[in-house]
Amino acid sequence: MEIRKILISFKLCEITLFANLHTNQNLQHLRRFMNRFTFLRSLFLAALFFYLLNNPIGKLPPLGKILSPSEGFWQNEKDEITTGTLELEGLKEPVKIHYDAQLVPHVFAQNDLDLYFAQGHVTAKHRLWQMEFQTHAAAGRLSEIFGKKALEHDRMQRRKGMVFGAENTLKDMAADAETIALLDAYTQGINSYINSLEQADYPVEYKLLNYAPEAWTPLKTSLLLMYMTDMLCGGDADLEYTNALRLFGKKRFDAWYPDFFDTLDPVVPKETSWKHISSTMTAVPNQQTPLDIIAETFEKPHPNNGSNNWAISAEKSYSGNPILANDPHLGLNLPSIWFVMQLATPKHSSYGATLPGALGIISGFNKHIAWGETNATRDVKDWYKIQFQDASKSTYRYEGTWNTARIRVEEIKIKGQASFLDSVRYTHHGPVSYDASFKGRHGKQGYAMKWVGHLGGNGQRTFLELNRGKNYEDYLAALQHWVAPAQNFVFAAADGDIALWVQGDFANKWKGQGKFLMDGSLAANDWQAYIPKSDNAFSKNPKRGFVSSANQYPTDQSYPYYVFNDGYESYRNRIINTFLSSKNKLDLEDFKSLQNNNFNLKASELLPTMLAEINRGALNTKELHMLELLASWNYDNGMNALAPSLWTEWWNHLYKLTWDEFEQKDVALKKPFTYQTIYLLKNKPNDTYADIVATTTVETAKDLFLISFQSAMSVFDTWDAKSSYKWSKYKGTAARHLLQGLPAFSRFDIPIGGEENSPNAVTHDHGPSWRMIVEMSSPPKALGIYPGGQSGNPGSVYYDNFIDTWAAEDYFEALFMQSTTDTKHIRSTQTLNPKS
């Protein structure tokens, strides 16, 4: 508008001048004036246009920069196939990077320093924007890119102590000479790539958001590890449970949230003996749960973050070689969270999935061993109510005296505005995340967090050692460095050993500790000790011939340490263990079919009851027809089936209706878990939970089945054709770009079956983010796939080329190169030379 006004006023000036021309006798003078005017006008227009093209306007990026063929997005129209030779400062000897048909880089270096230098360089080449973005997100620095709208997110990250935890991790990495040397080399490698970039070479996201990459630092690697730690063990429901305890009382709370479910198929087989454990269990102190009213809590990690892994012994394997499988379930994002590589020196060579930003292979194998992880869910985050002495919040009550709180000032830089300063108090527990200034208590109260994520530790070393590991002893030694997030590390060796350790730092809690908010002024409520790592649950070469984990209970009730249900998965593990037990010998096809298994055990355990109990007399013809469709279902969530959509809709309505007492304003609550809900519906159908609060009549489970069925089926009335409620259409699986799901860079309606509790745990936005199967032959044979592609560049065909293969239950064969000259299947090679 402004621009148009200015242009119009120029035009008016011009007209007035021309009108005056005839009356003015001094033509010469006027012409000069006119020239000056047209000069000014051309200057104005050229300057204006330059300004408009060089700066972001509204939501548009700077158009000149982004549309210019010499530096704009056109420069990102590249498949990223890489060749040639580079001379890089910091390298000691030449490094070869061979790329195969999947754009998997096979890095061959002469020594470890060069190897991790090259890993950094090559990862940055394909995934720079993602690496930096994820660490910015972890560090609470998104406001620097997006402005004030990201401030709430950034404050949350700072108040969780993400940077505090990353600094502690870095301290522990720096204390180990080898780790820090390799981390420095990795950092140098990334920076050798960043420093070679001009505007034209920046990943397209930088161009769209109009910013530039900054130098990588060791702290950023630490932040990436925190990003994973937060994703995998940053959730808890202590405050929600506190609300539930206050609202519903202890009796109902215990019935709805039992420590253990009635069915159990734990990670470590039930018959395992715990006789070797000699530590003293922590005694239960005399204390009271503060029954506060808590309105709002932090956003939690995705509840489906989890994974499957298993390994079978030589005896159970078709070939006599142990076979291992791993599929971590995470948010389906593009660029994908994983980047596949081979990392080789003359001394060791490993292949598998890396995390851009961290060193080494995270889930993979070398010629001696294979390893993979699933999340070992456990309550490792507790909350303490803090009473400050006065409004300055500089001291807090502890054991009858006032302890000094440390103040950490978090500076959050905001694009185009002054920085936001957030003063976060740190108690001996940890940061006071919630207080008067953030989602929290008024005045002098606050809630402090105690979290293993803040403990530091050198988990990076675990992977460095696994990459070069040769046997069970090396695996066990590598695991001793692991602190958080607790993982079920599965293991298989060419020499025949299989094992699985539930590894991480866990507090030795008193029974009930940390389920609810605790009084932070009592020393007895503090974490008293940690479980010695040797007492962590594990299984080595069990009689059943396999080890497996799928985020279920680590052990049964006989494990002497206190464990309670903090979101254990109750279905995938049983499907997997049943399958693995069902055959004497298993082959790679069995493994594939298990990873892609869509069986809906959950539905199979409740639907027969629902079908038997529902009052058919109240249903119309159409509803009866849908009921028949469900009755004839084989409980397979295949992508083309209709019944899974009907079941899911029915179940969602039923679950919501069952827990209608949880629909409360301004109270943070977490509804009971699916497994317990189904248990109650089947075994306690007339209990008070089934009553609908809003009605005057008393409902039972039978009534809930009918009401929820009718409301659920009405949803399908508005669907035009049967084909539109095919399971994959109804589910609508998508892999979304990390940048708020930017549709242009995302993939929608991926044709794939499965559901959250089937081994193939694909939901609309979540699922197996890397599927790997390794047979420990000599050399190992491996299959891999993930829902993304090797390139982080949306302009590359390798950006999302794995998605269709992944959806089609297929894999690529891993090319495990035996030497740098073994280049038969290599498409291109890049050489990195030391700068002379």
Partner: protein, 119 residues
């Protein structure tokens, strides 16, 4: 006519050269310089650089995108949004290049005229 043609060629070549080491506005600079040293008459002072800029950006971006099967251009056509039409992205892009060159061309000519008058 010859001057128009030579200006067109000169701007295109100079802009292509400057783009090797200068940012996107190298096009404006090239157009300014050529128009300053070789003044065009009337509306040609706009249209000639406009054509040069539009042509340069069109051909260069087409070559880059075509070599990669328009993978990213198709996505940018969704992002901007231009109905997923890659041709429209090329058109918009070349018009932007054209306008940038055209406007700085007029400015180049006006600078020259102003200097000439002062002498």
């Amino acid at each position: 006519m010859i001057r128009k043609l030579s200006n067109l060629v000169a701007i295109t070549i100079l802009a292509a050269l400057l783009a090797q080491f200068l940012p996107w506005w190298s096009l404006m600079l090239a157009s300014f310089a050529v128009s300053f040293f070789s003044v065009a008459k009337g509306s040609a002072s706009f249209w000639v650089p406009f054509l040069a800029g539009a042509l340069l950006w069109l051909v260069h971006s087409f070559l880059l995108a075509n070599a990669n099967d328009f993978v990213l251009t198709n996505k940018m056509a969704v992002l901007f949004p231009l109905q997923g039409n890659a041709a429209l992205v090329l058109l918009v892009s070349s018009c932007v290049g054209g306008l940038a060159a055209g406007l700085s061309g007029v400015f180049g000519k006006e600078c020259r005229l102003l200097l000439d008058k002062k002498k």
